[in-house]
């Protein structure tokens, strides 16, 4: 009898641990700085909030350039960072397509098609994501490498600068993990 009670208690603890293990959460690594890939990622991210999922995005490498605000200026950069930073796209309007960009012609075509077909622009998706509480975590090391400063990032209510551990912990707690 005592054994059964003990077993039940152990089982209950196990179930509690398992239930806590994965939340209804989506973790995504946004690595690409291509407009089309970021659009897809942000559509998935905002869509997931409709499922009542918590959404956590980890921006790293080329994707961090999408978070630059073209109206903001960065201070105190060393020469190399300045050079690199100036070569990288400054914000969403400067991103290219991963295919058929054709020197920007393909991109303009896609943009006008999106407008015609009522598909939200990347800026609009960021706005929606902000309203829906999508969390954006930006890789500190990438920003450093790419010569991007905190002061030149877009205004976003739920934006944090972090490292890989943040992503790993978020990913471990998530039911879905994606790399884009």
């Amino acid at each position: 009898m005592e054994n059964i009670e003990k077993n039940i208690k152990e089982l209950q603890e196990k179930v509690a641990r398992l239930e806590k293990g994965t939340e209804d959460q989506l973790s995504m690594v946004l690595f690409s700085g291509d407009l089309d890939k970021l659009l897809a990622a942000m559509i998935i991210a905002t869509g997931a909030t409709a499922m009542d999922m918590k959404v956590k995005l980890f921006f790293t490498f080329w994707a961090t350039t999408a978070l630059r605000d073209k109206t903001k200026k960065a201070k105190s950069k060393d020469f190399m960072s300045k050079m690199f930073g100036s070569m990288l796209p400054k914000g969403t309007s400067k991103l290219k397509l991963s295919k058929m960009n054709m020197g920007g012609i393909g991109k303009s075509m896609l943009k006008s098609l999106m407008k015609k077909k009522n598909v939200a622009s990347l800026d609009e998706l960021f706005k929606t994501a902000a309203e829906l509480g999508v969390e954006i975590n930006v890789c500190e090391m990438s920003m450093d490498l790419m010569g991007i400063n905190k002061e030149e990032l877009i205004d976003y209510p739920n934006l944090n600068i972090c490292g890989v551990a943040t992503f790993l912990v978020d990913a471990e707690e998530s039911k879905i993990q994606l790399f884009i």
């Binding site: 905002t46 869509g47 409709a50 009542d52 077909k117």
Partner: protein
């Protein structure tokens, strides 16, 4: 439900999401369902073909009852009962 039964439903909330593409209709449906009570009926208007499959899937996951879809010219009317 038959098409006639769907058309005859008294709708508590109507969401016109015809001006948005994926994921717009889903997000609008999510927002609107919070404004009605359990057992009430919501209709989602969408011009996006994908919504026809998306909304029932979403409803099933969130515990709402999908009642059916009526096809109009150029758009769909999707009916749900809040769970």
């Amino acid at each position: 439900m038959t098409q006639d039964e769907l058309q005859a439903l008294t709708v508590n909330k109507s969401v016109d999401a015809r001006g948005t593409a994926c994921p717009g209709p889903l997000l609008e449906a999510k927002k609107a369902i919070g404004t009605i009570g359990s057992g009430e009926i919501m209709e989602v208007l969408s011009a996006d073909e994908g919504t026809k499959r998306d909304i029932p899937k979403w409803a099933n996951k969130k515990g709402h009852e999908y009642l059916g879809t009526v096809e109009e010219s150029g758009f769909f009317k999707i009916y749900l009962k809040k769970g």
